[in-house]
């Protein structure tokens, strides 16, 4: 046995390239999965940790229009364990504008409270300074260092309410790295300072409460004033965490896609690694080695490959995750809320997953090849071709399996219309099913190509496509690997470009105003009345409309309401998916609501239903007359006329204004004038095109991570192709040398090798198109709808399709060039030496 093992593993050393490529391929696949896992887990932990650190281990919170008086009543009169918070975003004006979170707390209450806030450790001296000196703040050392602040320094900041100077009077010492991370870019101050800076005098953002079982929530709810609500803190965290779930599932799925490509690579490489030993195995079997000995050697080899790849994959994955995490942060911040996830969390589950995939999957995928080669009669193994010949016979079997998988996948997709996980599983089955058809399609195309190639290129052309005949199984698997990666590229590209184009068209249709004025979403006061007067008197303006964004309580939480009065022309900018058979504009003016598509999807709402919103304790019903396409929020919005909003909610504040200029007016002049004269702090003036471009920029940022993961899948596929071609070229080495001996030039040999790999790339590219389009359609139809509730129009950009085929051919040619470079240049006599 010792010598069999020795001969087996020396064989690896004789041709280390293939083994290295196998390890690299598997490691890349694992690295992707690990990186995505870490990025997801870190983002989630950061979010939860931030919640925990800032709100402490509280049980409930009061939200809505909370006054100082209510807090005093809860704490003093009722003796409840409550702590108030005033929070909001401010900007530091140092070189690069940095967004900071100003957090105003009642430090005396915090110190005596039972919950474990991060700033429980604030010294009495610091607390006293914060209380006695207005506009003083504390920050973590990390925050101060990264912004270049020192204790005692005055920091200029601006908020929705104006510009201020805050003094850093001390540093917070977080108890652990997670706390440090959660408190990054947070400024802690006294509640009065926060109220002044954020323009919330007399009001609180939230009151956190720690209630034990004896506290009767119902009795507290009974005396709460209108517009104040109490909710379970745990439920609140869960619902916010759930916001990102769809995004994370999408991310995980893309990571798994890269791994799926890696799995094919593993299957391909292990099959190659094992079957290329056919002759070696035949020899030792003829000498008396048992099947068991072969199986043991082969298993040990793939185990070693899997183990090394797993270790490398985990290490590379950790590195890659920091990069991915930045992109995840960016996307989550764009889609949901800002997070600062600096700590990478490598969980035990991730390690187990990596080991299971790296070692378990590698062995599992190698088993068919091991079983085949170990059970092949030695005479056949020595005789070379017959093992492969058998694999062509299985083409029709694979066709049946493929069709069955595709049907099963379709049934899964149709069976459950809401589950994202089942959606991905269905897509996975359909795609795997499609890939099973590749051997048969390759065979068909080969037959089609052969006479054409023969006619055009003669014997040299025939030699080039001979690889398809000599190693049909391996060639098909190589094409399948490349096809899978490319179809993922095509699918994701079509999905993103369709989405992009849909959003672009939506923005063009929706943004009917020539100029917009927006105020920060944190601002309670909104656009100042003087600025509205400014618009009324400005030359060149034909008309303007006002709108208010508001969070209104509903039965299950809150609903984002867009109260708008931009006029009939702007209303016509809403593109409706469904609408009632009425005069929409008239009904909208009369008090009806229109809802966005995600809102209707999430709440299973139809035309004719009502939206129930709470005004104090009473609920008001708004009849729904239309469902419009909207891509600004995946949680959905309800749009009502601003007059309707004012009538019910008695709120005249304004979030934004749309300005319609007179024809032939210079928009830039109007925009500049407004910008110079607008008095609302931090109000922004946008020309239509600027707002459109800024929105598209946010869109592109959100999808940056998608492109990265797609690129990873391509790299894995490239390694797969490289290793597959390396093996195929080893098989052809003798033939190329013989050709050189009989008079083929290096260039001719090079042409043959390149033609062969180019044809493989071409076939993979062609096969990837239907798979990619199918994947895009499924992603759009299944995933985006299920994750975000968005409908997109699928747009087939010919450039994407041409690009995929070009990429495939180029990748295959480069891989072929790398592999054959040395081989075709070898001096024939040298190359012939030692060939067994």
């Amino acid at each position: 046995m010792k010598i069999i093992f020795l001969s087996w593993f020396r064989e690896i050393l004789r041709r280390p390239t293939l083994t290295i490529l196998s390890i690299v391929g598997v490691a890349l696949g694992i690295a992707t999965v690990v990186a995505v896992d870490i990025a997801n887990e870190s983002a989630k932990r950061s979010f939860l940790a931030a919640n925990e650190t800032i709100s402490g281990s509280t049980t409930h919170r009061f939200t809505g229009r909370i006054t100082d008086e209510l807090y005093r009543h809860l704490r003093v009169d009722l003796g409840l364990d409550v702590t108030p918070v005033v929070e909001g975003l401010i900007e530091s004006d140092r070189s690069n504008t940095t967004q900071l979170r100003l957090y105003g707390v009642d430090l005396l209450a915090e110190i005596s409270a039972s919950s474990n806030y991060a700033w429980r450790e604030v010294s009495i001296e610091s607390a006293a300074t914060l209380l006695s000196n207005p506009f003083t703040v504390l920050a973590t050392r990390d925050t101060a260092n990264s912004l270049g602040w020192s204790v005692g320094q005055e920091i200029p900041v601006s908020s929705a309410d104006g510009d201020f100077k805050l003094t850093l009077i001390g540093l917070l010492e977080p108890a652990n790295p997670l706390q440090a991370q959660s408190l990054r870019f947070v400024l802690l101050t006294d509640i009065a300072t926060a109220q002044s800076v954020l323009g919330k005098q007399g009001y609180l953002s939230v009151i956190h409460a720690l209630f034990d079982d004896s506290v009767q929530i119902n009795s507290i709810e009974a005396f709460l004033p209108d517009g104040v609500y109490i909710e379970s803190q745990i439920g609140q965290s869960d619902s916010q965490a759930a916001l990102t779930r769809a995004f994370q599932i999408n991310l995980t799925a893309l990571g798994l896609l890269a791994f799926m490509v890696a799995m094919f690579l593993i299957y391909n490489t292990t099959s190659f690694t094992i079957t290329r030993r056919q002759r070696h195995i035949g020899m030792i079997r003829a000498l008396g080695a048992l099947q068991r000995d072969i199986v043991l050697c082969a298993l040990l080899e793939v185990l070693i490959i899997g183990a090394i790849a797993t270790i490398i994959g985990i290490l590379v994955g950790i590195q890659l995750s920091t990069f991915l995490l930045e992109l995840v942060e960016q996307s989550i911040a764009t889609l949901y809320f800002p997070i600062f996830a600096d700590i990478t969390v490598l969980s035990f589950v991730t390690i187990v997953k990596a080991i299971m995939l790296g070692i378990g999957a590698t062995i599992l995928l190698a088993l068919p090849a091991i079983r085949k080669i170990s059970s092949t009669a030695p005479s056949i193994a020595i005789g070379r071709s017959q093992v492969e010949t058998q694999s062509t016979d299985s083409g029709s079997k694979l066709f049946v399996i493929g069709c069955s998988l595709a049907v099963l996948g379709t049934l899964v997709l149709l069976g459950n219309q809401h589950s994202i996980v089942l959606g991905f599983f269905g897509i996975f089955l359909v795609v795997i099913g499609y890939l099973q058809l590749i051997p048969l399609m390759t065979e068909g195309l080969k037959r089609l190509l052969r006479p054409i190639v023969k006619r055009i290129f003669g014997v040299q052309g025939v030699l080039a496509i001979r690889a398809f005949s000599s190693r049909p199984g391996q060639t098909s698997t190589t094409i399948a690997v490349l096809c899978l990666a490319l179809s993922a590229t095509v699918g994701v590209d079509i999905m993103v470009s369709s989405f992009r184009q849909t959003v672009d068209e939506w923005l063009i249709s929706r943004l009917r105003g020539d100029i917009y004025i927006t105020t920060p979403s944190q601002s309670d006061s909104g656009l100042a009345s003087v600025d509205v007067e400014l618009l009324e008197n400005l030359e060149g303006i034909a008309s303007f409309g006002l709108a208010k964004w508001a969070e209104i309580p509903d039965a299950s939480g809150t609903t984002t309401v867009f109260a708008v009065d931009y006029g009939e022309n702007a209303f016509n900018g809403f593109q409706f998916k469904k609408k009632a058979d009425v005069d929409l504009w008239r009904e909208f003016n009369a008090g009806a609501a229109i809802v966005s598509e995600p809102y209707a999807y999430r709440n299973s709402i139809q035309i004719g239903d009502t939206v129930d919103l709470f005004i104090g304790r009473k609920s008001v019903q708004f009849p729904i007359i239309g469902v419009f396409f909207d891509y600004s929020s995946d949680q959905g919005i309800v749009a009502i006329h601003r007059d309707t909003y004012i009538r019910h909610f008695n709120d005249r504040t304004i979030s934004s204004a749309a300005i319609f200029a007179k024809p032939e007016t210079d928009l830039q002049t109007i925009a500049d004038t407004i910008e110079q004269r607008v008095l609302t702090p931090r109000a922004r003036v946008w020309r239509n095109q600027e707002l459109h471009d800024a929105s598209m920029q946010i869109f592109d940022q959100t999808f940056a991570i998608t492109y990265v993961l797609r690129t990873l899948a391509i790299i894995v596929a490239f390694v797969a192709v490289l290793s597959a071609l390396a093996t195929l070229q080893i098989e052809r080495e003798r033939e190329l040398v013989v050709l050189r001996t009989i008079g083929f030039t290096v260039r001719q040999n090079w042409s043959i090798a390149s033609f062969e790999t180019g044809v493989m790339g071409l076939l993979a590219g062609i096969f990837s198109l239907p798979a990619g389009i199918l994947m895009a359609w499924l992603l759009i139809w299944v995933i985006e709808q299920r994750s975000f509730g968005w409908t997109m129009k699928m747009q087939l950009d010919p450039l994407i399709l041409i690009g995929a085929v070009t990429l495939s051919v180029v990748a295959a040619l480069i891989a072929g060039a790398i592999v054959t470079w040395r081989k075709v240049r070898k001096v024939p006599a040298m190359a012939l030496q030692g060939m067994d």
């Binding site: 046995m1 010598i3 070696h280 000498l287 030496q833 030692g834 067994d836």
Partner: protein
Amino acid sequence: MTEATENSPIVVIKNVSKSFLEGDNCRPVLSNINAHFKRGGFHAVIGRSGSGKSTLLNLIAGIDLPDSGSVQINESAINKISENERTLLRRNTMGIIFQFFNLIPSLTVQENVRLPLDLVGIDNQQERVTNILELVGLKDRRNDYPEVLSGGEQQRVAIARAVVHEPKLLLADEPTGNLDYDTASQVLEVLRDVVQQRTLILVTHSREIASHADEIWPLRYGSFDSPESES
């Protein structure tokens, strides 16, 4: 497995047929052949290319199976035993010499020769390996890899490997077919030296090489003619 007697033939072939699939066609190679090879001595199977010589040798070695009929080694029908038993029978009873040597390129000369000893589980391997390499004249090249040896040297390593575990039956498939006349003569000489108490079945297309055998079995179009005795 039954115990073979001293006088019973070592190999008995009964009504053996074998054919191969070539695309959609079935090409018969051996048709209903019968033969019995006596224990001890040098038996040559002679025939033209494509006459089925190598196929016959593969069937005797148990590395391939007949479509019909039976092949008995030491009165044990190898097509009636399991794959594992066939391997063990081959490992313990036979030594095989191939036309293209089939040395393991990743093992040195002495490791190649040691391989059967390792498989059979024989101790004191080094002494045996040294002795046999001395016999075939390759003691000095024991640490070389096969790729640096000449054809004749590689075939001598193959012979050493085939006999090192002292098998009762030695099978040789055109052992000199790939060598020049002088080298072929040297290899045959070595072969003769190492055979001695064993049975050698050699397949060849060369009547000259076959003339060294005690018994010649002419194979023509997949069937045996009557054996010719040289002595």
